[in-house]
């Protein structure tokens, strides 16, 4: 485990019946690092994210957040310990205002603010992601990218140690994609520690300090984005034998 590691995944496996969705995975994330977790569909990326955030428990292996063992804890404890996430399919709280959607992260998560402080802090995060103008509107009036921004602001509102972005850029049109990439890059400039699961190759190349490539639940490559994306094993995993 590197000295400045925020997250350390050791020998983690997850089985669903006979299927090994995640198979003896090892990797760690350093402070201020943006790590890409990539791989073809069904390779176990989202399962791995769920294991870190506590949505599912690993069958074996350990996950540490800083010095704390978090694998096996319920999601609420992991959230309070400092892991915040967004969801592959955006999840708004429709009966709450945009500001309240963001406050949800700040009130109960790692930061645990309340009252005016919680409101102000949530408002700052909304400004930060660029939806400050829509603070008191219902979430149903937001565009898709703005809903994604609100979800990101909710994650930021808990001032987490680690942020998990599960295909945050998926479903955006080309213009929105540029805006989205710039927003994620600005998180990196803030010194946030992020794991992102992503399919958009441009985003991976321009954002990730390092990538872990998964296939059929196992790690097949690890290293700088350009390096792993030209690795024959990775190309084979994505495109099949003929193109490698």
């Amino acid at each position: 485990m590197p000295e400045d590691a925020i997250l350390d995944v050791q020998n983690v496996s997850k089985r669903f019946g006979g299927l090994r969705a995640v198979d003896s995975l090892n990797f760690s994330v350093r402070k201020h690092e943006m790590l890409g977790l990539i791989g073809p569909n069904g390779s176990g990326k989202t399962t791995m994210m769920n294991l870190i955030s506590g949505a599912a428990k690993p069958t074996s292996g350990e996950i540490f957040l800083e010095d704390r063992l978090i694998s096996g804890l319920p999601a609420r404890h992991i959230a309070r310990a400092g892991v915040a996430r967004t969801f592959q399919l955006v999840r708004m709280l429709p009966a709450l205002s945009v500001l309240e959607n963001v406050m949800a992260g700040g009130v109960f998560g790692h930061k645990r603010l309340w009252g005016r402080e919680a409101r102000n802090y949530a408002a700052r995060q909304l400004e930060r992601v660029g939806v400050g103008h829509a603070m008191n509107t219902p979430t149903s009036t937001l565009t898709y990218i703005d809903q994604k921004r609100v979800e990101l602001a909710r994650a930021l509102a808990s001032d987490p140690i680690l942020i998990l972005l599960d295909e945050w850029l998926a479903g955006l049109n080309p213009t929105e994609l540029q805006t989205g990439i710039a927003l994620i890059r600005s998180l990196r400039d803030d010194g946030r520690t992020v794991i992102l699961v992503e399919h958009v190759m441009d985003a991976i190349r321009s954002l990730c300090d390092r990538c872990v490539v998964m296939n059929s639940g196992a790690k097949i490559a690890e290293g700088a984005a350009d390096e792993v994306l030209s690795d024959p094993a990775v190309i084979r995993a994505y495109l099949g034998d003929g193109d490698a």
Binding site: G54, R85, M92, L93, A95, L96, M103, A104
Partner: protein, 314 residues
Amino acid sequence: MTSNEMRILVAAGAVLVLLAFLPTLPESAYAMSLALPIAMYTVLATSWTLFSGPTHYISLATGAFFGVGAYLVAACISFVPYPLLVLLAGLLGAVVAALVGMVTLRLSGVYFVIFTLGLAELVRQVVTWVQNNFTGSRGMYVLTNITERIIFWELLALVALVYLIGWLINRSRLGFALRIIGNDELVAAHSGIHSARSKVVLFMISGAFAAVVGAIMAPRYTYVEPAIAFSAELSFQVVIMALMGGAHRLWGPLVGVVPFTLLWEAIAASFPTQTVLLLGIAFLAIVYFIPNGVVGLIESKLGRRRGSGAAQHA
């Protein structure tokens, strides 16, 4: 507290104080016969809304909690002071709610509804069995010198308390947590909310109120037996009144309780067997025409329907 909230508080207090003089008016017997059930259902429907409003879990357990309170009084009135019994009823209601909550609140949707419906029947059968086998008589007399007037005042005080507690919950982290849970439990868990505990706590508060109402009403019945105390009809009435008024506002149920109780009493007076029909029609009306209650209807007409009132103050 904002000046607006202050004004509402003062106005509500003034109304309650005025209502407290109702029993002292001459010829008030008929008015009391309507005011008493209105006060009772206001407490029951509002406390039901405390839990079911934000979580959207439809509880049909009101009758069970009410019966537990009424039965506690009936069983112990001869050797325990009445005020203490009222407090104990609240405690017992909370304990029963905690037990039921811990078992069932992991169930969702229709499973929870069915279980709570069965609960009143279960408790009733247990009580009947115990009485048949060990006490010899099925019913019990509750003989006190507590008059209808005192019962009315007790209920008014309880109305004040349920609104006060509801208002405090809406301003608290617990209230905010419940609204998030009602929207999306997965997001709640990943935001750091202990959703099972939050739900159980609210369910306990709600159950305690219903049990206290049962304890307060017991002296009025004079004779308490399982069929009266544990009534499924009561549970349905409470749900329908609360939904009819609007379960997304603290004061919503009141808007349903007043007209529904008046209508209920009118029908019961002329066509005693047709009250169930009213329940059915009211239920259909809610489902088809006013899913957000009368309050929701008014608010959408005024075009300012937003999240719950707590939204702005959280």
